[in-house]
């Protein structure tokens, strides 16, 4: 697969790889995808009492564009409010990374991961 320079950059130098303690009340964890499908993303957001995303970490099993999509997602959500983060669309990721059509599902997965992590955080606050 011939990728654009941004995918290659994120793949070679992934941002925010790692994990937070998923038991932490301020951490929302989203795990999306399936091993049989060839991609699983885990996105974790550390959210403060003002609903601002202070930090983000990811781990991804998947192809280069799946890794790049999740790496970019962590960069984008940092410093945003929860509501702003929910506005991130997969098409924004596709455009930023210049993903080929066959890799669009990777960007969908990254959007889903943000939503799942925020949902998990909201559940914890109830």
């Amino acid at each position: 697969m011939a990728y654009g320079p941004k995918v290659i950059d994120h793949f070679n130098n992934p941002r925010n790889v790692g994990s937070f303690d998923k038991g932490d009340q301020s951490v929302g964890t989203g795990v999306v995808g399936a091993p049989e499908c060839g991609d699983v993303m885990k996105l974790q957001l550390k959210i403060n009492s003002q609903n601002i995303i202070e930090d983000a970490k990811f781990k991804t099993f998947g192809c280069g564009s799946a890794i790049a999509s999740s790496s970019l997602a962590t960069e984008w959500v940092k410093g945003k409010s929860v509501d702003e983060a929910l506005q991130i669309k997969n098409t924004d990721i596709v455009n930023e990374l210049a993903l080929p059509p066959v890799k669009i599902h990777c960007s969908v997965l990254a959007e889903d991961a943000i939503k799942a992590a925020i949902e998990d955080y909201k559940k914890k606050q109830e």
């Binding site: 697969m1 290659i8 049989e36 060839g38 993303m41 885990k42 781990k59 280069g64 799946a66 889903d112």
Partner: protein
């Protein structure tokens, strides 16, 4: 050492410089049509073609009159299946093959199913092989052809051809072998193995692309095949079209070199392959060998690197040319059908890498590849949520995944 390193020799092989040297005159001054019987230009190319035919016949234990030149193994396989089905339609319409065959065989078989044939696709065992007993049990009175590969292109598993050849002979059924991966790599004897039709490709044995061969038995029994390509009646009517003389000369030279060097080369290449395998298995955990551990091509290694997706692994290995059974490397987004047929789970199929060593692979290159693969796998596992979960003792099969 030159980068990138080529470790995809099951896909194609580089042209041996000695082959190119043999071909050069036929790409320049010796341009005659081998079918031109009326002048010296044709005579000299015809002579060269016949010399090549003899070299190829020798490589597989055949008579030179039994070799037909084609454009490659795909065409040879098409002629074998379609040609036999049409020629023997009065005798029967049943063909036996296996689920892990090359697409040239599977797609020809599917085409024939649309035209009145019935096809049995034998399942394979966990190493990717069919057994002689399975073949025997599948034969019916309508069976006209058994078509199996000598060795599998993805996982390198070698079929028990000689035993299956005996069964075919006893049942009076023609036996076609796709030897694209084995000709020039391991020994083939069409007599001893009971093979009636055999498909070979030049570019898998350090010859040029665009040329291949079809062995068609002439005695005991005399095999007849309807042509697929019609025209001037070249190649005794089996395959019309002006002969690709330069390609055929290269093919012949490649076969001659393989006859001379194959035995030592297999020893050297399999030692390098085993070194690669042993080093990776000792330095990394959670690896799974795909294919038969013993009965496999000397140059093939196929490993699933659990929890690391194959395309990402190849992206990390940019200085090394390999291939993967991962869906992400195919247009279809489906992982390897060969691994699937062997019962390898899709989650592991996505993590498979095929290493294909060859005549020009060096020990220095193998050392470099070992270091690179170990480094990249460790890096990607550090960022794999699955590896993290597995290390925490979570059974990944028990997790509710969100399939997409």
């Amino acid at each position: 050492m030159r980068l990138p390193i080529y470790l995809d020799n099951n896909s194609t092989t580089p042209l041996d410089p000695r082959v190119l040297e043999a071909m050069m005159p036929f790409l320049t001054e010796k341009f005659g049509n081998a079918a031109s019987r009326s002048h010296a230009f044709g005579w000299e190319t015809e002579e060269a073609v016949e010399k090549s035919r003899a070299s190829i016949a020798k490589l597989i234990g055949a008579n030179l009159k039994e070799i037909v030149f084609t454009s490659g193994a795909t065409e040879s396989i098409n002629i074998a299946l379609k040609g036999a089905a049409e020629m023997y339609a009065e005798k029967g319409n049943h063909i036996i093959t296996a689920a892990t065959e090359h697409k040239a065989t599977l797609d020809s078989a599917k085409y024939l199913e649309k035209h009145g044939c019935t096809v049995t696709y034998l399942p394979v065992d966990k190493f990717g092989a069919v057994s002689p007993e399975q073949v025997k049990a599948a034969i019916t009175e309508k069976t006209i052809l058994i078509s199996l590969m000598h060795a599998n292109n993805e996982i390198g598993t070698i079929h028990p051809i000689e035993e299956i050849g005996k069964i075919a002979k006893e049942a009076g059924v023609l036996f076609h072998v796709d030897a694209a991966q084995t000709a020039g790599k391991i020994s083939i004897d069409v007599e001893k193995m009971g093979i009636d039709i055999l498909s070979i490709s030049a570019h898998k044995m350090y010859g040029p692309k665009g040329v291949g061969g079809l062995y068609v038995r002439r005695t005991n029994p005399r095999v007849r095949l309807s042509p697929v390509v019609h025209g001037g009646g070249h190649e005794r009517g089996f395959r019309s079209g002006t002969l690709n003389v330069a390609g055929i000369v290269g093919f012949g030279k490649a076969a001659e070199l393989c006859s001379q060097e194959m035995a030592q080369e297999a020893v050297r290449v399999s030692a390098l392959r085993d070194k690669l395998k042993n080093a990776l298995f000792s330095q990394l955990d959670e690896l799974f060998l795909n294919g038969d551990p013993i009965k496999r091509l000397p140059n093939n290694l196929n490993i699933s690197f659990a929890f690391v997706e194959g395309e990402a692994l190849m992206m990390g290995l940019k200085e090394v040319a390999v291939s993967s059974g991962s869906a992400c490397t195919s247009a279809s987004l489906e992982p390897s059908y060969v691994l699937k047929a062997m019962g390898v789970g899709e989650e592991l199929a996505h993590t498979s890498i095929r290493f294909g060593l060859g005549r020009f692979t060096t020990a220095e290159e193998v050392d470099f590849v070992i270091e690179k693969v170990v480094g990249v796998v460790k890096k990607l596992r550090d960022m794999s949520p699955l590896y993290e979960m597995a290390k925490e003792g979570i059974d990944l099969k028990s997790v509710q995944w969100t399939t997409h």
